[in-house]
Structures are given as C-alpha cells and as structure tokens.
C-alpha cells in the first residue's frame, strides 16, 4: 500500500516580522538620539503666558538663558554671571551676525531687575532682532 507522503515541509517564505521589528527599533533609536542631541538641559521654570507667541526657527547658533525664580542665570545647566553672558553674546554674534539668537526662559515671578541686564547685554552685543522670550501659549 502506498502511503501518501505527509507534507511536513517548513514554509520557505521570508519572515518579515523580525525585519519590521528591527526597523522600528532603529527608528525609535534615532528619534530619541536626535531629540536628546538637540535638547539642552532645561531647568523647570514657570514660564509666562502670551497670545502673540509663535513657533520660532530653532537656529543652531543660539544661547538659551534660564532665569530661575531666585534670579540666578543658567546656561546649559550651569550658573553663569552677567559678564559671562555678555561674553557669550558677543562671541556668538561675531560668529553668526545674522543667525545668532538669544533665548530667555524666565520664571514668570522673577523680578524685572534680573531680566533688564540680559536685554542690555543683548543690545550692547549687537543682538537686536533675535531676542526671544520663551512663553506658554495663551
């Protein structure tokens, strides 16, 4: 009696699932890596609100000054003095006269006496058109 051969063959088709898996892992990795490479250490401050805020171009040449509620100035997570800030502004403006921006992230309760020196430093350093306050949209 002839016994019909049982087909126990393993499918030879190409399994796409692991490839999709690896591709998504790569996408997530590069997404996270690029996000953290662009992000600067930012301290938590309660930003003021404004209705005329807009998305600004993230220019590569910029300095982000965080003004803490106690009036201290931080740049890249490090406390700095006004003289250092003035130096940064002057150097940044010399490198990119048209594309250098100064971002001010100030707590909404910080007194103006800690903001005015920054505006003066910007004006003296020649940065006049790219001074941006970080706000939350109203």
């Amino acid at each position: 009696m002839r016994i019909p051969p049982r087909s126990r063959g393993i499918p030879l088709g190409f399994n796409l699932t692991p490839m999709i898996d690896v591709v998504f892992n790569l996408i997530v990795f590069f997404l996270v890596a690029s996000h953290f490479s662009r992000a600067e250490p930012t301290e938590q401050v309660a930003l003021p609100s404004a209705s005329q805020a807009s998305e600004a171009d993230q220019q590569p040449h910029r300095v982000v000054i965080t003004v803490l509620p106690d009036g201290k100035w931080n740049v890249a997570g490090r406390e700095v003095t006004i003289e250092e800030i003035e130096q940064m502004i002057v150097e940044g403006h010399e490198k990119s006269p048209d594309a250098f921006a100064v971002h001010i992230r100030g707590d909404r309760n910080v007194p103006y006496e800690f903001i005015e020196p920054l505006l003066l430093a910007c004006a003296r350093g020649g940065v006049t058109s790219q001074v941006l306050f970080h706000v939350v949209p109203r």
Binding site: L31, A56, R105, V110, R124, F133
Partner: protein, 154 residues
C-alpha cells in the same frame, strides 16, 4: 488499513507567531509615545532691540516717529498690595482689562505711536510679558524698553 491520524497534527499550529506581533505592537506604542513627547509646549515671543549704550533700548530710532504720533509711556510698578499698576501718560490703571481696552483704542488711532515700557525693578516678568503681549496684539509697531534706572520701585 486505516492509518491513524497523528495526534500531533493539532499541535502543528505555531502559537509562537503571536510573539512577533506583540513585539511590533509594543514598538509602535513606544514610537508614538516618544514622538508625541518630542513636541515642546513652549513657544517664542520675539522682541526687537536696537544697539544702545545703556540709556534706552528702543526698537526704532525716535526720529523716525511721525510728527502726529503720540509717544505712550507705560510705567509698570507694583502698588501696596503687590498688584500691577500701570501709569499711562499720567493716568494710573489698576484694572488690566481697562488698560488693554485703552491700548487697543490707541492702536486703532495710530499704530505708529511708539510705546515705551518703563518697568520697575520689582515687577514680575509675567506682568511685563502680559503688557508687552497686549501692546503687540493691539498692533503697535514700536515697543521700546526703557533702561538705565528710570523706574522707581516701591
């Protein structure tokens, strides 16, 4: 002769095929969670300054002001109750909404009128941004910051 069916036939189904699907689903979940978190809630309020030696920070030279334009000086101070009081050309406003209405009315008359913000040292940044934002929303073209210790803090 009857060949009995293998009792293992029912076990040929590969329940392990669920694992890659669950894996991909979790990857999608992580992808969208991280992608959503990349959007920042912060926006920018731009200001324009002009080069100064420290006397005043202006957005445009005063000599460009039209002859009929009225210079509006807003002195921001805190009153005894630590509330913002705004002196606009001699008239003190404690009600911010009334001040905003007045500014909008002035802007309707002439957006070319320069605004000078003379801010006391103890005024919080949030109040300063609020008034600056109001002037910008009203459409004023020239909003200046006075510097050099003109404002007195109470």
């Amino acid at each position: 002769m009857r060949i009995p069916r293998s009792s293992l036939a029912g076990l040929d189904r590969d329940y392990g095929a669920m694992t890659p699907m669950i894996d991909v689903v979790f990857n999608l979940l992580i992808f969208f969670v991280i992608g959503a978190g990349a959007f920042s809630a912060e926006k920018m309020l731009s200001t324009k300054l002009s080069a100064t030696e420290g006397a005043a920070i202006t957005t445009q030279p005063i000599q460009e002001q039209a002859a009929w334009a009225l210079t509006v000086t807003l002195k921001l101070t805190l009153d005894e109750t630590n509330q913002l009081a705004v002196d606009m050309n001699g008239t003190v406003y404690n009600d911010r909404n009334l001040l905003k209405d007045q500014l909008r009315a002035l802007a309707d008359v002439g957006k070319e009128s320069p605004i000078i913000l003379d801010i006391a040292r103890n005024v919080p940044l949030g109040d300063m941004i609020d008034i600056y934002d109001t002037c910008k929303a009203a459409g004023f073209e020239s909003i200046n910051f006075a510097a050099g210790g003109n404002a007195d803090s109470r």
